[in-house]
C-alpha cells in the first residue's frame, strides 16, 4: 500500500501534535537536583563514574585495582543492570527469563572499595567539577561517563512518549525486552512482525540482525505461518552481512523479508504502521521500532557531544573529552574510531581509560591504547557467528591493527563451537563487571 506523507499524517489524527509535545520533552532535562553535597570530598583524589553498565563498572573497578589511593564513586540510576547482550535469546524464546543477564553491584563495590550511589545524574557542571544527582551533588577531580545511548525520536514524525509502549525498541534491556517478547507471544499465528533498523552508527551493529534471527527462530518454532519484515535504513546489512544472509537462507527462507535502504521517517503507532521515506507504509501486528540513536541525554546536557550533536569526540588514548577538560567518555556514547559500539568495546575502552586516568593523576606519561572487540551473534539456538578485532592508536586515531581480526569462516565450520564460546563470553564479561 502506498500513501503520500500528508495523508499518512492525517490518518494519524491528533498524533502529530502529540509528537511535537513529545519532542519538546525528549531533550535532556536539566534539573537542579538536590543541591546538598553528598559525600563531601576529602583530601583523597576522586574519580566519579556515571553509569554502571558495560563501560562504567569496569572503569571503576580498574581504577581501584591500579591505584587504591584514588577514591571512586559509581553513580547509577538502578540497583541492578540487565545486559543487552543475549537479550535477543530471551526474545527468541531460548532463555526463560532475564535472570542470567542481570547483575547486582554489591560484590563489585565490596571487593574493590568502590562507593556506590544509586541516583539519577541530572546535570554536570564541568567548570565547577560537580555532578548533580537526584540525591545531591558530588565533586570530582576527574569524571568518567559511560551512560550509553538515548534516541533521536525527533527524527520520526508521530513518535511520542507512549510509542515505546506500543512499538517497543527493546534496545535497552529490561522492561522493554519483556514487552517485546510478550507482544510476540500474544501475536496470532500468521501475523507479521516489523523490525526497523536505524542508520548506522547505532548501539551494536550486528544487534538488529541477531534480533531478526531470534524472532524468526521463535516464529518458526511457535508461529510458523508468520513472518518478519526487516525495514533497514542502511544500504545493506550493517555487520557480518554475508554470514547473516547465509544463516537466513539455511534456516528462515520465507520467514524473513529483508528490505534495505528503507528509512522510517514517520509512524502511526495506533495503526501499528511505519512509513518509509514518507511514502511506503508497512504494517505489523508487532512492531519493533529501533529509533536512530545518539549519546545518552546526560552527555548532551554536559556539552560533550561534537559538531554532529550526536556522539562525543575523545582523545584516542585517554578517552578524555575534547570538549570538556577532566571528563572522560567511554562506551557507546563516545566516538572511538574503528571500535564499534559494543559491550566488549566498552569493557576494553574502560580499561584503557582507567589506565590513563591513573597515569595522569600520578603525573606519569600516557600509555598508548591497545583494545579488543569480540562480538557473537546467534543465528539459531546452536549456531553463532562472530566478529573480532584488535585495536591500536595511531596519529591520534583508534585504528584496527592491519591484517588482524575479521569474521567467522564462511564455510559455517565454526558455528557450533562459537555458540558455546558465546556463553562463556557472557559469563566472563558479566563476572568481570560484577566482582
Amino acid at each position: 500500500m502506498t500513501l503520500d506523507r500528508r495523508n499518512f499524517i492525517k490518518l494519524m489524527g491528533g498524533a502529530s501534535s502529540l509528537a511535537l509535545a513529545g519532542c519538546a520533552t525528549q531533550g535532556p532535562a536539566v534539573s537542579a537536583g538536590s543541591a546538598a553535597e553528598i559525600m563531601p570530598k576529602g583530601s583523597a583524589r576522586r574519580v566519579v563514574v556515571v553509569g554502571g553498565g558495560y563501560g562504567g563498572t569496569i572503569a571503576a573497578k580498574y581504577i581501584r585495582m591500579m591505584d587504591p589511593s584514588i577514591e571512586v564513586v559509581l553513580v547509577e540510576r538502578n540497583d541492578h543492570f540487565v545486559s543487552c547482550p543475549f537479550s535477543n535469546l530471551y526474545i527468541g524464546g531460548i532463555l526463560p527469563d532475564l535472570s542470567s543477564l542481570t547483575i547486582k553491584y554489591d560484590k563489585l563495590v565490596a571487593n574493590h572499595g568502590i562507593k556506590f550511589v544509586q541516583a539519577e545524574v541530572t546535570a554536570i557542571d564541568p567548570a565547577a567539577h560537580t555532578v548533580v544527582t537526584s540525591k545531591g551533588t558530588l565533586k570530582y577531580d576527574r569524571l568518567v561517563i559511560s551512560p550509553g545511548i538515548d534516541f533521536r525520536t525527533e527524527e520520526i514524525e508521530g513518535y511520542n512518549a507512549q510509542t515505546p509502549e506500543i512499538m517497543p525498541h527493546a534496545w535497552k534491556a529490561g522492561p522493554q525486552t519483556v514487552l517485546l517478547r510478550k507482544q510476540l507471544e500474544a501475536m496470532k499465528d500468521g501475523g507479521t512482525v516489523v523490525l526497523t533498523v536505524p542508520l548506522a552508527p547505532f548501539r551494536c551493529p550486528p544487534g538488529p540482525y541477531e534480533r531478526t534471527s531470534m524472532i524468526a527462530h521463535y516464529l518458526k518454532q511457535h508461529k510458523p505461518k508468520s513472518k518478519i519484515i526487516v525495514v533497514d535504513a542502511n544500504p545493506d546489512i550493517a555487520s557480518k552481512g554475508p554470514l547473516f544472509r547465509k544463516g537466513w537462507d539455511m534456516h528462515y527462507k520465507g520467514i524473513i523479508d529483508y528490505r534495505k535502504a528503507a528509512k522510517v521517517t514517520a509512524i502511526n503507532a495506533a495503526g501499528k504502521a511505519v512509513l518509509i521515506e514518507g511514502i511506503d507504509e508497512v504494517k505489523g501486528d508487532v512492531v519493533n521500532l529501533i529509533p536512530p540513536q545518539r549519546a545518552a541525554n546526560i552527555a548532551v546536557q554536559a556539552g560533550l557531544v561534537g559538531d554532529d550533536k550526536k556522539w562525543c569526540p575523545i582523545n584516542a588514548d585517554t578517552f578524555e573529552s575534547t570538549k570538556q577538560k577532566d571528563i572522560h567518555v567511554i562506551g557507546d556514547a563516545s566516538i572511538a574510531g574503528a571500535m564499534p559500539k559494543s559491550g566488549y568495546s566498552a569493557n576494553s575502552e574502560a580499561k584503557v581509560c582507567a589506565t590513563n586516568i591513573v597515569n595522569l593523576m600520578n603525573g606519569r606519561p600516557v600509555t598508548p591504547l591497545s583494545g579488543i572487540n569480540t562480538c557473537y551473534s546467534y543465528i539459531t539456538e546452536g549456531e553463532a557467528i562472530s566478529v573480532a578485532a584488535v585495536y591500536a592508536s595511531k596519529d591520534g586515531q583508534i585504528i584496527a591493527v592491519p591484517n588482524s581480526g575479521g569474521v567467522s569462516p564462511a564455510d559455517w565450520s565454526m558455528v557450533k563451537t562459537e555458540a558455546t564460546y558465546a556463553k562463556s563470553w557472557l559469563r566472563n564479561i558479566l563476572t568481570e563487571m560484577s566482582t
Partner: protein, 193 residues
C-alpha cells in the same frame, strides 16, 4: 668543556629515543587487560569453555599465541586476534599472565573419576604437569582448575588430530583408554587448593 657538552647531548638524545620507544609500546598490562573480557580479570576465567590464563607458563602462552597466529592450532577467533600482536607483544602477554595467581575454580566433577585420575596423573603425567597440574613447565600448560568442558573440548581436538599433540604427550596418552583420559580431566578440574 666541549667534550662535556657533547656528552650531554648524547645523553639527552639517548633519553629521548628510549622515551619514544616506550610511548609506542602499550606495555604488558594494557595489552593483557583487553583479553580479560573473555578470559576473566587477570586471566581467571568464569566461562566453562574458556581457559584461565592466570599462572600459565610464559612459554605455553607464547607458543599458543604463535600457533593460533599461524593457523597451526585451530581456533575460531583466537587466530584472528593473535594476528593483531607482534612477537614482542606476545612475549609481554605471556610474561603478564605467567605472573598472575593461579585461579581456583569450584566445579562439580565425578569424584570416582577424579580419584582414578589422580593415580593416572601420578603415574603418567606428573613429570611435565608438575604438582597436580598446578605448575607449568616450559611449554606445558597449567591444568589444575581449568573448567572441565574446556579440557574436554581440547582433548577432543587432540584425539581428532585437529590440534597436534606434542610427541612427549602422545607417548603417554597412547596407552590410555578414553575412560582413563576422561578421569584425568576430571582430576585436573577438581584440583582447587
Amino acid at each position: 668543556m666541549k667534550q662535556r657538552w657533547s656528552g650531554w647531548a648524547l645523553l639527552t638524545g639517548a633519553l629521548t629515543i628510549s622515551a619514544t620507544a616506550l610511548a609506542a609500546d602499550p606495555g604488558a598490562a594494557m595489552l593483557a587487560n583487553a583479553c580479560a573480557g573473555c578470559h576473566g580479570t587477570h586471566g581467571g576465567s568464569a566461562g566453562l569453555t574458556m581457559p584461565s590464563l592466570a599462572a600459565q607458563s610464559k612459554t605455553a602462552i607464547v607458543e599458543a599465541m604463535k600457533k593460533f597466529r599461524s593457523g597451526e592450532r585451530p581456533s575460531s577467533i583466537m587466530g584472528r586476534l593473535a594476528k593483531g600482536y607482534t612477537d614482542q607483544q606476545i612475549d609481554q602477554l605471556g610474561e603478564f599472565f605467567s605472573k598472575q595467581k593461579l585461579h581456583f575454580t569450584h566445579q562439580q566433577v565425578d569424584a570416582a573419576k577424579a580419584k582414578k585420575g589422580a593415580e593416572l596423573q601420578e603415574a603418567n603425567c606428573s613429570r611435565c604437569h608438575l604438582d597436580d597440574g598446578k605448575d607449568g613447565k616450559d611449554d606445558t600448560p597449567v591444568m589444575a582448575s581449568q573448567w572441565l568442558p574446556y579440557l574436554q573440548m581440547q582433548m577432543e581436538l587432540y584425539q581428532s588430530g585437529k590440534r597436534k599433540m606434542p610427541e612427549k604427550m602422545a607417548e603417554k596418552v597412547k596407552p590410555l583408554s578414553k575412560e582413563d583420559l576422561d578421569a584425568l580431566l576430571h582430576f585436573y578440574a577438581s584440583v582447587n587448593k
